[in-house]
Protein backbone atom coordinates (compact mmCIF):
# COMPACT_ATOMS: atom_id res chain seq x y z
CA UNK A 1 0.00 0.00 0.00
CA UNK A 2 2.76 2.41 0.87
CA UNK A 3 4.65 1.62 -2.26
CA UNK A 4 4.79 4.29 -4.91
CA UNK A 5 4.55 3.00 -8.43
CA UNK A 6 5.93 4.70 -11.44
CA UNK A 7 7.25 3.87 -14.83
CA UNK A 8 10.48 5.83 -14.53
CA UNK A 9 10.93 6.02 -10.76
CA UNK A 10 10.60 9.83 -10.77
CA UNK A 11 9.21 11.56 -7.69
CA UNK A 12 5.47 11.78 -8.04
CA UNK A 13 2.59 13.91 -6.85
CA UNK A 14 2.41 14.49 -3.11
CA UNK A 15 0.36 12.58 -0.54
CA UNK A 16 -2.25 11.29 -0.07
CA UNK A 17 -2.54 10.10 -3.60
CA UNK A 18 0.40 7.75 -4.00
CA UNK A 19 -0.86 7.43 -7.50
CA UNK A 20 0.70 7.04 -10.82
CA UNK A 21 0.12 9.92 -13.21
CA UNK A 22 1.54 10.10 -16.74
CA UNK A 23 4.52 12.39 -17.04
CA UNK A 24 2.75 14.80 -19.41
CA UNK A 25 0.03 15.56 -16.84
CA UNK A 26 2.27 16.04 -13.84
CA UNK A 27 2.32 19.82 -13.81
CA UNK A 28 -1.40 20.30 -14.32
CA UNK A 29 -4.19 20.14 -11.76
CA UNK A 30 -5.37 16.53 -11.76
CA UNK A 31 -8.84 16.10 -13.19
CA UNK A 32 -9.86 14.00 -10.22
CA UNK A 33 -8.48 13.55 -6.76
CA UNK A 34 -10.11 11.34 -4.15
CA UNK A 35 -8.93 11.61 -0.59
CA UNK A 36 -9.80 8.91 1.92
CA UNK A 37 -13.16 8.40 0.23
CA UNK A 38 -15.52 5.97 1.92
CA UNK A 39 -19.12 4.92 2.23
CA UNK A 40 -20.96 2.50 4.51
CA UNK A 41 -24.39 1.07 3.95
CA UNK A 42 -25.46 0.51 7.53
CA UNK A 43 -22.78 -1.77 8.95
CA UNK A 44 -21.40 -2.75 5.57
CA UNK A 45 -18.30 -0.85 4.55
CA UNK A 46 -18.60 -0.81 0.78
CA UNK A 47 -15.63 1.44 0.02
CA UNK A 48 -13.05 2.60 2.49
CA UNK A 49 -9.97 4.80 2.40
CA UNK A 50 -10.07 5.22 -1.37
CA UNK A 51 -7.31 7.51 -2.65
CA UNK A 52 -6.82 8.20 -6.31
CA UNK A 53 -5.39 10.86 -8.56
CA UNK A 54 -6.14 10.96 -12.26
CA UNK A 55 -4.18 13.18 -14.64
CA UNK A 56 -5.83 15.43 -17.20
CA UNK A 57 -5.40 13.12 -20.15
CA UNK A 58 -4.82 9.83 -18.41
CA UNK A 59 -6.56 6.58 -19.19
CA UNK A 60 -6.89 4.86 -15.84
CA UNK A 61 -8.32 1.49 -14.94
CA UNK A 62 -10.23 0.36 -11.90
CA UNK A 63 -10.18 -3.40 -11.52
CA UNK A 64 -10.97 -5.95 -8.90
CA UNK A 65 -12.95 -9.12 -8.29
CA UNK A 66 -16.75 -9.09 -8.35
CA UNK A 67 -18.27 -7.14 -5.48
CA UNK A 68 -15.06 -5.26 -4.76
CA UNK A 69 -16.87 -1.90 -4.87
CA UNK A 70 -15.87 -0.66 -8.31
CA UNK A 71 -19.30 0.48 -9.41
CA UNK A 72 -19.83 1.94 -5.95
CA UNK A 73 -16.81 4.17 -6.59
CA UNK A 74 -18.46 5.37 -9.82
CA UNK A 75 -21.68 6.03 -7.93
CA UNK A 76 -19.73 8.03 -5.36
CA UNK A 77 -17.97 10.07 -8.03
CA UNK A 78 -21.26 10.89 -9.77
CA UNK A 79 -23.02 11.52 -6.44
CA UNK A 80 -25.60 8.81 -6.93
CA UNK A 81 -24.41 8.02 -3.40
CA UNK A 82 -23.22 10.73 -1.06
CA UNK A 83 -19.89 9.60 0.43
CA UNK A 84 -19.91 9.14 4.19
CA UNK A 85 -16.21 9.98 4.42
CA UNK A 86 -13.53 11.75 2.47
CA UNK A 87 -13.37 14.32 -0.30
CA UNK A 88 -13.63 14.29 -4.06
CA UNK A 89 -11.86 17.09 -5.89
CA UNK A 90 -12.89 17.59 -9.49
CA UNK A 91 -10.40 19.90 -11.21
CA UNK A 92 -9.36 20.96 -7.72
CA UNK A 93 -12.91 21.83 -6.73
CA UNK A 94 -14.62 20.02 -3.86
CA UNK A 95 -17.82 18.30 -5.03
CA UNK A 96 -19.19 17.76 -1.52
CA UNK A 97 -22.21 20.05 -1.94
CA UNK A 98 -22.98 19.08 -5.51
CA UNK A 99 -25.75 16.78 -6.63
CA UNK A 100 -25.72 14.43 -9.60
CA UNK A 101 -26.83 17.07 -12.08
CA UNK A 102 -24.23 19.58 -10.90
CA UNK A 103 -21.48 16.97 -11.04
CA UNK A 104 -22.50 16.24 -14.61
CA UNK A 105 -22.36 19.93 -15.45
CA UNK A 106 -18.97 20.15 -13.73
CA UNK A 107 -17.63 17.55 -16.12
CA UNK A 108 -18.10 13.91 -15.08
CA UNK A 109 -19.96 11.71 -17.54
CA UNK A 110 -20.51 7.98 -17.28
CA UNK A 111 -21.84 4.86 -18.92
CA UNK A 112 -23.52 1.97 -17.17
CA UNK A 113 -22.65 -1.64 -16.55
CA UNK A 114 -26.11 -2.71 -17.70
CA UNK A 115 -26.94 -0.43 -20.59
CA UNK A 116 -29.34 2.35 -19.67
CA UNK A 117 -30.21 4.14 -22.86
CA UNK A 118 -33.53 5.88 -23.43
CA UNK A 119 -34.82 2.97 -25.48
CA UNK A 120 -37.88 4.61 -26.98
CA UNK A 121 -36.01 7.64 -28.24
CA UNK A 122 -34.00 7.76 -31.43
CA UNK A 123 -30.22 7.45 -31.40
CA UNK A 124 -29.89 11.13 -32.26
CA UNK A 125 -32.27 12.17 -29.48
CA UNK A 126 -30.28 10.12 -26.98
CA UNK A 127 -27.16 12.03 -27.94
CA UNK A 128 -29.01 15.35 -27.87
CA UNK A 129 -30.21 14.57 -24.34
CA UNK A 130 -26.58 14.44 -23.35
CA UNK A 131 -26.33 18.01 -24.65
CA UNK A 132 -29.38 19.02 -22.61
CA UNK A 133 -27.50 21.66 -20.67
CA UNK A 134 -25.76 23.21 -23.62
CA UNK A 135 -28.94 23.81 -25.59
CA UNK A 136 -30.56 27.07 -24.59
CA UNK A 137 -34.05 27.88 -25.69
CA UNK A 138 -37.24 28.26 -23.73
CA UNK A 139 -40.36 26.17 -23.92
CA UNK A 140 -42.32 28.79 -25.87
CA UNK A 141 -39.63 29.08 -28.51
CA UNK A 142 -39.58 25.30 -28.76
CA UNK A 143 -43.32 24.97 -29.31
CA UNK A 144 -43.59 27.82 -31.80
CA UNK A 145 -40.24 26.97 -33.41
CA UNK A 146 -38.83 30.47 -33.44
CA UNK A 147 -35.55 31.09 -35.26
CA UNK A 148 -33.41 30.51 -32.17
CA UNK A 149 -34.96 27.05 -31.89
CA UNK A 150 -33.95 26.15 -35.44
CA UNK A 151 -30.49 27.62 -35.02
CA UNK A 152 -29.77 25.66 -31.86
CA UNK A 153 -31.41 22.46 -33.04
CA UNK A 154 -29.30 22.66 -36.19
CA UNK A 155 -26.06 23.04 -34.30
CA UNK A 156 -27.14 20.30 -31.87
CA UNK A 157 -27.86 18.05 -34.82
CA UNK A 158 -24.48 18.74 -36.36
CA UNK A 159 -22.67 18.08 -33.12
CA UNK A 160 -24.65 14.89 -32.51
CA UNK A 161 -23.67 13.65 -35.96
CA UNK A 162 -20.05 14.57 -35.36
CA UNK A 163 -20.02 12.58 -32.12
CA UNK A 164 -21.79 9.63 -33.70
CA UNK A 165 -19.19 9.61 -36.46
CA UNK A 166 -16.53 8.57 -33.93
CA UNK A 167 -18.11 5.13 -34.01
CA UNK A 168 -19.40 5.41 -37.60
CA UNK A 169 -22.96 5.44 -36.33
CA UNK A 170 -24.32 8.38 -38.37
CA UNK A 171 -26.58 6.19 -40.47
CA UNK A 172 -28.29 4.86 -37.35
CA UNK A 173 -29.30 8.33 -36.16
CA UNK A 174 -33.02 7.78 -36.68
CA UNK A 175 -33.18 4.24 -35.33
CA UNK A 176 -34.77 3.69 -31.95
CA UNK A 177 -32.01 3.18 -29.40
CA UNK A 178 -33.74 0.10 -28.02
CA UNK A 179 -33.63 -1.72 -31.35
CA UNK A 180 -29.88 -1.33 -31.89
CA UNK A 181 -27.68 -4.40 -31.63
CA UNK A 182 -25.93 -4.85 -28.31
CA UNK A 183 -22.49 -3.60 -29.34
CA UNK A 184 -23.97 -0.48 -30.92
CA UNK A 185 -25.94 0.24 -27.74
CA UNK A 186 -22.70 0.14 -25.75
CA UNK A 187 -21.08 2.52 -28.23
CA UNK A 188 -24.10 4.83 -28.14
CA UNK A 189 -23.82 5.06 -24.36
CA UNK A 190 -20.26 6.32 -24.76
CA UNK A 191 -21.36 8.86 -27.37
CA UNK A 192 -24.19 10.06 -25.15
CA UNK A 193 -21.76 10.49 -22.26
CA UNK A 194 -19.36 12.42 -24.50
CA UNK A 195 -22.21 14.72 -25.52
CA UNK A 196 -22.30 16.15 -21.99
CA UNK A 197 -18.88 17.60 -22.78
CA UNK A 198 -17.02 15.97 -19.89
CA UNK A 199 -13.47 16.36 -18.66
CA UNK A 200 -13.63 12.91 -17.06
CA UNK A 201 -15.37 9.99 -18.69
CA UNK A 202 -16.28 7.00 -16.53
CA UNK A 203 -16.80 3.76 -18.44
CA UNK A 204 -18.38 0.90 -16.52
CA UNK A 205 -17.36 -2.35 -18.22
CA UNK A 206 -17.36 -0.96 -21.77
CA UNK A 207 -16.24 -4.27 -23.27
CA UNK A 208 -18.70 -6.49 -21.42
CA UNK A 209 -20.29 -8.94 -23.81
CA UNK A 210 -18.14 -7.94 -26.76
CA UNK A 211 -16.21 -10.37 -28.91
CA UNK A 212 -12.42 -10.05 -29.28
CA UNK A 213 -12.57 -8.08 -32.53
CA UNK A 214 -15.18 -5.68 -31.14
CA UNK A 215 -13.04 -5.27 -28.02
CA UNK A 216 -9.99 -4.50 -30.13
CA UNK A 217 -11.93 -1.84 -31.99
CA UNK A 218 -13.23 -0.43 -28.71
CA UNK A 219 -9.68 -0.15 -27.37
CA UNK A 220 -8.65 1.88 -30.39
CA UNK A 221 -11.67 4.08 -29.99
CA UNK A 222 -11.08 4.73 -26.29
CA UNK A 223 -7.57 5.93 -27.07
CA UNK A 224 -8.90 7.94 -30.01
CA UNK A 225 -11.49 9.63 -27.79
CA UNK A 226 -8.82 10.57 -25.29
CA UNK A 227 -6.58 11.95 -28.02
CA UNK A 228 -9.33 13.91 -29.81
CA UNK A 229 -11.10 15.38 -26.80
CA UNK A 230 -8.04 15.54 -24.50
CA UNK A 231 -10.03 14.19 -21.57
CA UNK A 232 -9.31 11.71 -18.81
CA UNK A 233 -10.96 8.30 -18.84
CA UNK A 234 -11.47 5.99 -15.88
CA UNK A 235 -12.72 2.57 -16.78
CA UNK A 236 -13.91 -0.49 -14.92
CA UNK A 237 -13.19 -3.62 -16.89
CA UNK A 238 -12.74 -7.32 -16.42
CA UNK A 239 -11.06 -7.83 -19.78
CA UNK A 240 -7.41 -7.80 -18.68
CA UNK A 241 -6.18 -7.57 -22.23
CA UNK A 242 -7.97 -4.24 -22.63
CA UNK A 243 -6.94 -2.92 -19.23
CA UNK A 244 -3.26 -3.86 -19.55
CA UNK A 245 -3.01 -2.50 -23.08
CA UNK A 246 -4.58 0.93 -22.83
CA UNK A 247 -4.52 1.95 -19.16
CA UNK A 248 -1.59 4.03 -18.00
CA UNK A 249 -2.42 3.73 -14.33
CA UNK A 250 -4.35 0.93 -12.68
CA UNK A 251 -5.99 0.77 -9.30
CA UNK A 252 -7.01 -2.59 -7.85
CA UNK A 253 -9.86 -2.82 -5.38
CA UNK A 254 -10.75 -5.75 -3.16
CA UNK A 255 -13.41 -5.73 -0.46
CA UNK A 256 -13.76 -1.97 -0.83
CA UNK A 257 -10.09 -1.21 -0.27
CA UNK A 258 -7.27 -0.41 -2.64
CA UNK A 259 -4.81 -3.28 -2.62
CA UNK A 260 -2.50 -2.06 -5.36
CA UNK A 261 -1.87 0.89 -7.64
CA UNK A 262 0.54 1.36 -10.45
CA UNK A 263 1.44 0.82 -14.06
CA UNK A 264 0.20 -2.31 -15.85
CA UNK A 265 3.59 -4.01 -15.43
CA UNK A 266 3.62 -3.36 -11.70
CA UNK A 267 0.08 -4.64 -11.28
CA UNK A 268 0.75 -7.81 -13.19
CA UNK A 269 3.67 -8.61 -10.92
CA UNK A 270 1.99 -7.62 -7.69
CA UNK A 271 1.49 -10.61 -5.34
CA UNK A 272 -1.51 -9.03 -3.57
CA UNK A 273 -3.33 -8.69 -6.88
CA UNK A 274 -2.57 -12.22 -7.90
CA UNK A 275 -3.84 -13.39 -4.55
CA UNK A 276 -7.07 -11.40 -4.86
CA UNK A 277 -7.77 -12.83 -8.27
CA UNK A 278 -6.47 -16.38 -7.93
CA UNK A 279 -6.44 -17.04 -4.20
CA UNK A 280 -3.53 -17.65 -1.87
CA UNK A 281 -0.79 -19.97 -2.92
CA UNK A 282 -0.76 -23.05 -0.73
CA UNK A 283 2.38 -23.11 1.39
CA UNK A 284 4.34 -26.22 0.67
Amino acid sequence: MAKIFSKNESPLVPMPSEAYIPQRDLNKTPVLECRRLGINFGGLVAVDDFNLIIGRTEIAGLIGPNGAGKTTVFNLLTKVYQPTKGTILLNGQDTHDMNTVQVCKAGIARTFQNIRLFNNLSVEDNVKLGMHNSIQYGMVRGIFRLPSYWRQEKSAHERAMELLSIFNMEDMANTKAGSLPYGAQRRLEIVRALATNPCLLLLDEPAAGMNPSETAELMENIVKIRDTFQIAILLIEHDMNLVMNICEGICVLNFGRIIAKGSPEDIQANPAVIEAYLGKKKEA
Binding site: V101, F118, L129, H132, Y137, M139, T196
Partner: protein
Protein backbone atom coordinates in the same frame (compact mmCIF):
# COMPACT_ATOMS: atom_id res chain seq x y z
CA UNK B 1 -79.63 12.57 -38.10
CA UNK B 2 -80.01 12.10 -34.36
CA UNK B 3 -77.13 9.61 -34.50
CA UNK B 4 -74.85 12.29 -35.94
CA UNK B 5 -76.03 14.62 -33.23
CA UNK B 6 -75.15 12.11 -30.51
CA UNK B 7 -71.82 11.41 -32.14
CA UNK B 8 -70.91 15.10 -32.12
CA UNK B 9 -71.89 15.48 -28.45
CA UNK B 10 -69.91 12.35 -27.68
CA UNK B 11 -66.81 13.71 -29.40
CA UNK B 12 -67.20 17.01 -27.61
CA UNK B 13 -67.54 15.37 -24.18
CA UNK B 14 -64.71 13.04 -25.13
CA UNK B 15 -62.49 16.01 -26.01
CA UNK B 16 -62.96 17.36 -22.49
CA UNK B 17 -62.12 13.93 -21.04
CA UNK B 18 -59.07 13.81 -23.30
CA UNK B 19 -57.75 17.17 -22.09
CA UNK B 20 -58.18 16.06 -18.47
CA UNK B 21 -56.73 12.63 -19.23
CA UNK B 22 -53.59 14.33 -20.56
CA UNK B 23 -52.90 15.63 -17.08
CA UNK B 24 -53.20 12.15 -15.60
CA UNK B 25 -51.21 10.46 -18.28
CA UNK B 26 -48.32 12.92 -18.40
CA UNK B 27 -47.88 12.93 -14.64
CA UNK B 28 -48.12 9.15 -14.53
CA UNK B 29 -45.64 8.79 -17.37
CA UNK B 30 -43.02 10.92 -15.67
CA UNK B 31 -43.58 10.75 -11.93
CA UNK B 32 -45.12 7.23 -12.01
CA UNK B 33 -47.89 8.39 -9.71
CA UNK B 34 -51.66 8.79 -10.00
CA UNK B 35 -52.52 12.36 -9.22
CA UNK B 36 -56.08 11.96 -8.02
CA UNK B 37 -56.22 15.63 -7.12
CA UNK B 38 -56.18 16.45 -10.82
CA UNK B 39 -59.99 16.41 -11.07
CA UNK B 40 -60.22 19.01 -8.33
CA UNK B 41 -57.74 21.28 -10.02
CA UNK B 42 -60.32 21.40 -12.83
CA UNK B 43 -62.94 22.53 -10.36
CA UNK B 44 -60.63 25.25 -8.99
CA UNK B 45 -59.96 26.44 -12.54
CA UNK B 46 -63.67 26.66 -13.25
CA UNK B 47 -64.32 28.63 -10.06
CA UNK B 48 -61.47 31.05 -10.76
CA UNK B 49 -62.80 31.67 -14.23
CA UNK B 50 -66.33 32.03 -12.90
CA UNK B 51 -65.33 34.67 -10.37
CA UNK B 52 -63.06 36.49 -12.78
CA UNK B 53 -65.88 36.83 -15.28
CA UNK B 54 -68.97 37.15 -13.08
CA UNK B 55 -67.67 39.16 -10.18
CA UNK B 56 -64.78 41.14 -11.62
CA UNK B 57 -66.42 41.30 -15.07
CA UNK B 58 -63.25 40.50 -16.94
CA UNK B 59 -63.60 39.38 -20.54
CA UNK B 60 -63.96 35.57 -20.84
CA UNK B 61 -60.60 35.09 -22.53
CA UNK B 62 -58.81 36.96 -19.74
CA UNK B 63 -60.79 34.88 -17.24
CA UNK B 64 -59.52 31.68 -18.82
CA UNK B 65 -55.94 32.96 -18.83
CA UNK B 66 -56.18 33.94 -15.15
CA UNK B 67 -57.58 30.49 -14.34
CA UNK B 68 -54.73 28.85 -16.27
CA UNK B 69 -52.05 30.85 -14.49
CA UNK B 70 -53.52 30.16 -11.05
CA UNK B 71 -54.02 26.44 -11.77
CA UNK B 72 -50.48 26.14 -13.10
CA UNK B 73 -49.18 27.66 -9.89
CA UNK B 74 -51.51 25.46 -7.85
CA UNK B 75 -50.20 22.37 -9.64
CA UNK B 76 -46.59 23.33 -8.95
CA UNK B 77 -47.37 24.09 -5.29
CA UNK B 78 -49.23 20.80 -4.79
CA UNK B 79 -46.30 18.93 -6.30
CA UNK B 80 -43.74 20.74 -4.15
CA UNK B 81 -45.65 20.47 -0.87
CA UNK B 82 -47.43 17.14 -1.11
CA UNK B 83 -45.63 14.89 -3.59
CA UNK B 84 -41.98 15.94 -3.69
CA UNK B 85 -41.25 14.97 -0.06
CA UNK B 86 -42.59 11.51 -0.95
CA UNK B 87 -40.44 10.99 -4.04
CA UNK B 88 -38.70 8.03 -2.43
CA UNK B 89 -41.77 6.70 -0.60
CA UNK B 90 -43.71 3.64 -1.75
CA UNK B 91 -46.29 4.44 -4.41
CA UNK B 92 -49.18 3.59 -2.11
CA UNK B 93 -48.22 6.46 0.22
CA UNK B 94 -48.22 8.88 -2.72
CA UNK B 95 -51.60 7.58 -3.87
CA UNK B 96 -53.17 8.13 -0.46
CA UNK B 97 -51.62 11.60 -0.31
CA UNK B 98 -53.14 12.40 -3.70
CA UNK B 99 -56.57 11.38 -2.44
CA UNK B 100 -55.96 13.56 0.61
CA UNK B 101 -55.07 16.54 -1.58
CA UNK B 102 -58.24 15.92 -3.56
CA UNK B 103 -60.44 16.11 -0.46
CA UNK B 104 -58.49 19.10 0.77
CA UNK B 105 -59.19 21.02 -2.43
CA UNK B 106 -62.90 20.07 -2.38
CA UNK B 107 -63.32 21.16 1.22
CA UNK B 108 -61.29 24.31 0.76
CA UNK B 109 -63.55 25.20 -2.15
CA UNK B 110 -66.62 24.55 -0.03
CA UNK B 111 -65.25 26.77 2.71
CA UNK B 112 -64.24 29.57 0.36
CA UNK B 113 -67.06 29.52 -2.13
CA UNK B 114 -69.86 27.61 -0.28
CA UNK B 115 -71.54 24.54 -1.64
CA UNK B 116 -74.34 26.49 -3.33
CA UNK B 117 -74.26 25.71 -7.03
CA UNK B 118 -73.04 28.55 -9.21
CA UNK B 119 -74.43 28.96 -12.68
CA UNK B 120 -71.54 29.23 -15.06
CA UNK B 121 -71.88 32.08 -17.56
CA UNK B 122 -72.40 31.32 -21.23
CA UNK B 123 -69.22 32.26 -23.04
CA UNK B 124 -69.76 30.88 -26.44
CA UNK B 125 -72.71 32.68 -27.91
CA UNK B 126 -73.42 35.38 -30.43
CA UNK B 127 -75.91 38.22 -30.15
CA UNK B 128 -78.14 38.41 -33.18
CA UNK B 129 -80.85 40.95 -33.89
CA UNK B 130 -84.07 39.32 -34.90
CA UNK B 131 -87.32 40.78 -36.12
CA UNK B 132 -90.24 39.25 -34.29
CA UNK B 133 -93.55 38.67 -36.12
CA UNK B 134 -95.08 41.77 -34.55
CA UNK B 135 -92.39 43.98 -36.05
CA UNK B 136 -90.13 44.80 -33.07
CA UNK B 137 -86.42 44.15 -33.32
CA UNK B 138 -85.03 41.98 -30.55
CA UNK B 139 -81.49 40.97 -29.71
CA UNK B 140 -81.37 37.29 -28.87
CA UNK B 141 -78.41 35.09 -28.04
CA UNK B 142 -77.59 32.35 -30.49
CA UNK B 143 -75.41 29.57 -29.11
CA UNK B 144 -74.95 27.34 -32.07
CA UNK B 145 -75.24 26.86 -35.79
CA UNK B 146 -77.93 24.96 -37.62
CA UNK B 147 -76.97 22.51 -40.30
CA UNK B 148 -79.12 20.61 -42.78
CA UNK B 149 -81.94 23.09 -42.49
CA UNK B 150 -82.18 22.99 -38.71
CA UNK B 151 -82.09 19.22 -38.41
CA UNK B 152 -78.65 19.23 -36.85
CA UNK B 153 -77.68 21.84 -34.31
CA UNK B 154 -74.08 22.18 -33.26
CA UNK B 155 -73.43 24.53 -30.38
CA UNK B 156 -70.43 26.85 -30.35
CA UNK B 157 -69.21 25.22 -27.14
CA UNK B 158 -68.97 21.92 -28.97
CA UNK B 159 -67.00 23.42 -31.84
CA UNK B 160 -64.67 25.34 -29.54
CA UNK B 161 -64.13 22.27 -27.35
CA UNK B 162 -63.16 20.03 -30.24
CA UNK B 163 -60.89 22.67 -31.78
CA UNK B 164 -59.18 23.44 -28.47
CA UNK B 165 -58.60 19.73 -27.87
CA UNK B 166 -57.02 19.34 -31.30
CA UNK B 167 -54.78 22.37 -30.84
CA UNK B 168 -53.63 21.15 -27.43
CA UNK B 169 -52.84 17.70 -28.82
CA UNK B 170 -50.82 19.11 -31.72
CA UNK B 171 -48.93 21.52 -29.46
CA UNK B 172 -48.13 18.80 -26.93
CA UNK B 173 -46.98 16.38 -29.60
CA UNK B 174 -44.68 19.03 -31.02
CA UNK B 175 -43.48 19.84 -27.53
CA UNK B 176 -42.62 16.31 -26.43
CA UNK B 177 -41.26 15.30 -29.82
CA UNK B 178 -39.06 18.20 -30.76
CA UNK B 179 -38.07 20.39 -27.87
CA UNK B 180 -35.33 19.74 -25.39
CA UNK B 181 -37.68 19.97 -22.38
CA UNK B 182 -40.07 17.54 -24.05
CA UNK B 183 -37.27 15.12 -24.74
CA UNK B 184 -36.05 15.50 -21.17
CA UNK B 185 -39.55 14.50 -20.07
CA UNK B 186 -39.47 11.37 -22.19
CA UNK B 187 -36.01 10.57 -20.87
CA UNK B 188 -37.18 10.99 -17.27
CA UNK B 189 -40.15 8.75 -17.91
CA UNK B 190 -37.81 6.00 -19.06
CA UNK B 191 -34.95 6.19 -16.59
CA UNK B 192 -34.70 8.96 -14.02
CA UNK B 193 -31.26 8.04 -12.73
CA UNK B 194 -29.74 7.87 -16.17
CA UNK B 195 -31.39 11.20 -17.01
CA UNK B 196 -29.91 12.77 -13.89
CA UNK B 197 -26.47 11.52 -14.83
CA UNK B 198 -26.88 13.17 -18.24
CA UNK B 199 -27.35 16.48 -16.44
CA UNK B 200 -31.13 16.64 -16.70
CA UNK B 201 -32.75 18.21 -13.66
CA UNK B 202 -35.45 15.65 -12.84
CA UNK B 203 -37.21 17.82 -10.26
CA UNK B 204 -37.62 20.69 -12.70
CA UNK B 205 -38.90 18.30 -15.33
CA UNK B 206 -41.52 16.90 -12.95
CA UNK B 207 -42.56 20.43 -11.95
CA UNK B 208 -42.98 21.40 -15.60
CA UNK B 209 -45.12 18.32 -16.14
CA UNK B 210 -47.40 19.23 -13.26
CA UNK B 211 -47.54 22.81 -14.48
CA UNK B 212 -48.61 21.79 -17.99
CA UNK B 213 -51.15 19.26 -16.69
CA UNK B 214 -52.71 21.77 -14.30
CA UNK B 215 -52.79 24.55 -16.88
CA UNK B 216 -54.67 22.19 -19.19
CA UNK B 217 -56.97 21.28 -16.30
CA UNK B 218 -58.04 24.94 -16.09
CA UNK B 219 -58.98 24.91 -19.78
CA UNK B 220 -60.85 21.65 -19.29
CA UNK B 221 -62.70 23.12 -16.30
CA UNK B 222 -63.90 26.10 -18.30
CA UNK B 223 -64.97 23.93 -21.24
CA UNK B 224 -66.71 21.45 -18.96
CA UNK B 225 -68.67 24.14 -17.14
CA UNK B 226 -69.56 25.83 -20.42
CA UNK B 227 -71.17 22.61 -21.56
CA UNK B 228 -72.68 21.65 -18.18
CA UNK B 229 -73.09 24.99 -16.42
CA UNK B 230 -73.63 23.93 -12.79
CA UNK B 231 -70.57 24.56 -10.67
CA UNK B 232 -70.22 22.98 -7.20
CA UNK B 233 -67.09 22.00 -5.23
CA UNK B 234 -67.44 18.39 -6.36
CA UNK B 235 -67.80 19.28 -10.04
CA UNK B 236 -64.35 17.96 -10.83
CA UNK B 237 -64.48 14.57 -9.16
CA UNK B 238 -66.66 12.57 -11.55
CA UNK B 239 -65.10 13.94 -14.77
CA UNK B 240 -61.74 13.41 -13.06
CA UNK B 241 -62.45 9.72 -12.50
CA UNK B 242 -63.87 9.34 -16.01
CA UNK B 243 -60.79 11.01 -17.50
CA UNK B 244 -58.54 8.76 -15.43
CA UNK B 245 -60.49 5.84 -16.87
CA UNK B 246 -59.96 7.32 -20.33
CA UNK B 247 -56.22 7.53 -19.68
CA UNK B 248 -56.11 3.88 -18.61
CA UNK B 249 -58.35 2.95 -21.54
CA UNK B 250 -55.97 4.53 -24.05
CA UNK B 251 -52.87 3.25 -22.28
CA UNK B 252 -51.63 5.34 -19.37
CA UNK B 253 -48.45 7.25 -20.09
CA UNK B 254 -49.27 7.71 -23.76
CA UNK B 255 -50.41 11.10 -25.09
CA UNK B 256 -52.20 9.81 -28.22
CA UNK B 257 -53.69 7.17 -25.93
CA UNK B 258 -55.26 9.89 -23.80
CA UNK B 259 -56.86 11.41 -26.88
CA UNK B 260 -58.15 8.09 -28.19
CA UNK B 261 -59.32 6.92 -24.76
CA UNK B 262 -61.04 10.22 -24.02
CA UNK B 263 -62.87 10.34 -27.34
CA UNK B 264 -63.98 6.71 -27.14
CA UNK B 265 -65.16 7.11 -23.57
CA UNK B 266 -67.16 10.23 -24.44
CA UNK B 267 -68.79 8.61 -27.46
CA UNK B 268 -69.60 5.39 -25.61
CA UNK B 269 -71.08 7.35 -22.73
CA UNK B 270 -73.35 9.50 -24.91
CA UNK B 271 -74.40 6.54 -27.08
CA UNK B 272 -75.21 4.47 -24.01
CA UNK B 273 -77.27 7.34 -22.65
CA UNK B 274 -79.10 7.77 -25.92
CA UNK B 275 -79.78 4.22 -26.94
CA UNK B 276 -79.64 2.12 -23.77
CA UNK B 277 -80.37 3.89 -20.55
CA UNK B 278 -79.28 7.08 -18.85
CA UNK B 279 -78.89 5.35 -15.51
CA UNK B 280 -76.84 2.52 -16.93
CA UNK B 281 -74.51 4.68 -19.04
CA UNK B 282 -71.68 4.78 -16.49
CA UNK B 283 -71.97 1.05 -15.88
CA UNK B 284 -71.65 0.44 -19.62
CA UNK B 285 -68.62 2.74 -19.86
CA UNK B 286 -66.82 0.89 -17.11
CA UNK B 287 -67.86 -2.50 -18.47
CA UNK B 288 -66.19 -1.59 -21.78
CA UNK B 289 -63.10 -0.52 -19.86
CA UNK B 290 -62.97 -3.88 -18.08
CA UNK B 291 -63.30 -5.76 -21.36
CA UNK B 292 -60.55 -3.69 -23.02
CA UNK B 293 -58.23 -4.24 -20.08
CA UNK B 294 -58.92 -7.97 -20.09
CA UNK B 295 -57.98 -8.19 -23.74
CA UNK B 296 -55.17 -5.63 -23.69
CA UNK B 297 -53.95 -5.01 -20.15
CA UNK B 298 -51.77 -2.04 -21.14
CA UNK B 299 -54.68 -0.14 -22.70
CA UNK B 300 -55.28 0.57 -26.36
CA UNK B 301 -51.99 2.31 -27.15
CA UNK B 302 -49.99 1.38 -24.07
CA UNK B 303 -46.61 -0.21 -24.50
CA UNK B 304 -46.12 -3.57 -22.82
CA UNK B 305 -43.39 -3.46 -20.22
CA UNK B 306 -41.04 -6.36 -20.68
CA UNK B 307 -38.93 -7.47 -17.79
CA UNK B 308 -35.58 -8.88 -18.75
CA UNK B 309 -34.95 -12.23 -17.15
Amino acid sequence: MSFLNFLISGISLGSIYAIIALGYTMVYGIAKMLNFAHGDVIMVGAYICFFAVSRYSLPPLVGILVAMVICTLLGIIIEKLAYKPLRAAPSLAVLITAIGVSYFLQNAAQLLWSSNPKVFPMFFQRMVSKTTPDGTVQIVPVNGIDLFGGELRVSYVTIVTILVCLIIMLALTAFTGNTKMGKAMRACSEDKDAARLMGINVNTTISVTFAIGSGLAAIAGVLLCSAYPTLVPTTGSMPGIKAFTAAVFGGIGSIPGALLGGLMLGVIEIMAKAYVSTQLSDAIVFAVLIIVLLVKPTGLLGRPVREKV
